[in-house]
């Protein structure tokens, strides 16, 4: 789960990591009041879940409270990569002398978190990793002890940071490791870690991702969830326990199991279609889940046909068939649905579909070809939205 910079800094603050004092504003007037309170000049920073906000104009400055209000007025409501800015973080401007990178990421190879430090801060660490990997030093974190303070200092020293930063930066990185583990993060970055002209070391920007699987025990952070993508359907799907990803085609896809759904997307593409989404209804889905999934996919105005591809392990074919039949009444008129069932309960499921006058594909390829044909045959002006699609 993504969280905002101000929330990430809130977490850092709880672990003793220095951050600029600041507050969040949702109106220009609030930004002006915050600027007055914490002292000008200030920086106005758009709080959106995408990178590259600086280039998009999402970071502006105010030398006076009135300028802060104007700057916030420009940033609030701004569209950054499809997301509307609804909040800005207002913080005192600092005079940055040097910028470093410190971060902790989950590493598949070492099967745990790895701490990383680079003297090349303030730029995208992926670029540093791609172009000058020698500028990044790494240390796997032992889950029993976390990152020990000496290991953190060692990383600072090996990354070539100034002596004055090694100690304080090391303490910050060790604290970041504690925050990472206690918060069930899957990524925690301070970029830049700033050395100011007056010798302070602080987190000037921060990014934290929380592991979705840990949200049941990270209740406070779970409460911070907001629509995280440009597409509100993705957020709603998450709340309803559906694994949904919006894509840019017009063939809706529903399946069980991530790999099978991915393969179904590939198969539809191969049949000449363009998938509109990825939707995995997971294991053991019942009829009601299937019904909801169909109606959910149909709410995407781009969808002009739906392919249901279910292989039964925990998921039973007759439950899926019942769900498809139940959905018929609420689906947009003329919306083609092609179902393909196999495995546990597939025979029973096919019989139910036949009784209801619905068709199915004999296998995944057949299903993909049938749905692509149906979508291609349908007039472009086919009814697109259900009555519920308006919100």
């Amino acid at each position: 789960m993504k969280i905002h910079e101000f929330q990430a800094k809130d977490i850092l603050g709880r672990y003793g990591i220095p951050v600029q004092p600041g507050k969040v504003a949702t109106t220009p007037e609030q930004a002006e009041a915050i600027a007055r309170e914490c002292g000008v000049p200030v920086v106005i920073k758009a709080q959106v879940y995408v990178g590259g906000r600086g280039k998009a104009g999402g970071i502006q400055f105010g030398d006076t409270p009135a300028q802060a209000r104007e700057a916030a007025g420009r940033v609030l409501g701004m569209d950054i990569k499809g997301l509307t800015v609804e909040k800005v973080l207002v913080v005192p401007k600092i005079d940055i002398k040097e910028e470093y990178y410190v971060g902790i990421v989950l590493d598949r190879a070492t099967q745990g978190p790895v701490a990383m430090v680079s003297a090349a801060g303030g730029i995208d660490i992926e670029d540093v990793a791609a172009n000058t990997p020698e500028k990044i030093v790494k240390q796997p974190i032992d889950m029993r002890w976390g990152l020990l303070p000496y290991q953190a200092r060692d990383l600072m020293a090996r990354a070539g940071l100034p002596h004055t930063v090694v100690s304080r930066g090391g303490a910050i990185l060790a604290a970041l490791s504690r925050a990472f583990i206690a918060s069930d993060a899957s990524l925690a970055e301070i970029n830049p870690l700033a050395l100011t002209a007056d010798g302070q070391v602080l987190a000037a920007d921060a990014k934290i991702l929380i592991d979705d699987n840990a949200l049941p025990r990270q209740k406070e952070y779970a409460g911070w969830a907001e629509p995280e993508e440009a597409n509100p359907l993705e957020f709603e799907a998450k709340r309803e326990g559906l694994t949904y990803v919006k894509l840019d085609g017009d063939v809706g896809i529903i399946g069980n199991g991530a790999g099978l759904v991915m393969t179904t997307l590939d198969m539809v593409a191969r049949a000449g279609g363009k998938p509109a989404n990825f939707l995995d209804i997971g294991g053991g889905a019942r009829a009601e889940v299937m019904r909801k999934a169909l109606l959910f996919v149909a709410r995407d105005p781009d969808v002009r046909g739906i392919l249901v591809n279910i292989f039964g392990g925990i998921t039973r074919g007759e439950e899926v068939a019942r769900g498809i039949i139940m959905a018929q009444a609420d689906l947009p008129k003329g919306m083609p649905v092609v179902a393909r069932l196999s495995g546990t309960g597939a025979e029973e499921g096919r019989a139910l579909l036949a009784d209801a006058g619905l068709t199915w594909g004999t296998d995944m390829r057949d299903g993909a070809q049938k749905v692509v044909a149906a979508v291609t045959a349908a007039p472009k002006t086919a009814p697109k939205a259900t009555p519920r699609a308006g919100n």
Partner: protein
Amino acid sequence: MSILFNRDSRVIVQGITGSEGSYHTPRMIDSGTRIVGGVTPGKGGQRFAARIGDRALGEVPVFDTVAEARERTGADVACIFVPPAGAADAIMEAAAAGIGVVVCITENIPVLDMARAAAFLKEHPARLIGPNCPGLATPGAGKVGIMPYHTFKEGRVGFASRSGTLAYEVVALLTEAGIGQSTCIGVGGDPIIGTPFVECLRLFERDPETDAVVICGEIGGSDEEDAAAYAKTMRKPVVGFISGRTAPAGKRMGHAGAIVSGNTGTAQGKVEALLAAGVPVADTIFDIPEMTKQALAKVGAR
């Protein structure tokens, strides 16, 4: 000999009285698996009566701890259906009790719990399969997990897949084409798993009852690239398939581990790595049986 699991394996089920455990245990027994007991803390002393519909499949004892279950039953394989919050603990409990092969079906385990379990396994060696996987099956001997066993067929092709349902599809296609399997492994869809492809390949390479291996990978991570590097050194032929060719970068495609980040984990990179290692890669799953037949013909397999 198949790998990891055979007719002599003695299996316990952790979480046997839960909804998943109680549904799948009778089905494992029905496939021929010797289930010797179960573990549910607090329900030790009870007996689990296995049945499918009105078909009774015997009773097994339930224990409070894995240590006790192992001592009393001589179990060497554990199958875990424990809910996510306790699943990593269940893995560590099984490893500490000396269970050799631990199969964890559970999905949605917090990743740092798995990081802890992975570190624990370095000091308490056990072969972990999964988590977030359908388990494994050795046709003719039975299954450990939730795979649809009736579509499997005894034979000499090893199989491993990151996705469960995709594995079922491909195994069914192999069976339809008359190609039987030695052992089928669902390695799991999480970023931290116990037995990545390269480990499966090592086991199959050593297995005298396996002639060729099929691996079904997907976007995310570099397990397929690692497998490709090893496949190059193998005596036995490997056939590959990669799903997620149409998946956009930066989007997590269902599995926690299925995400292209930057330039890592792309389908294209994996396909290229496999091809460069001499591993043919199927365009669609429907091409896998024919390619497997060709691979078998090349080694002159029976």
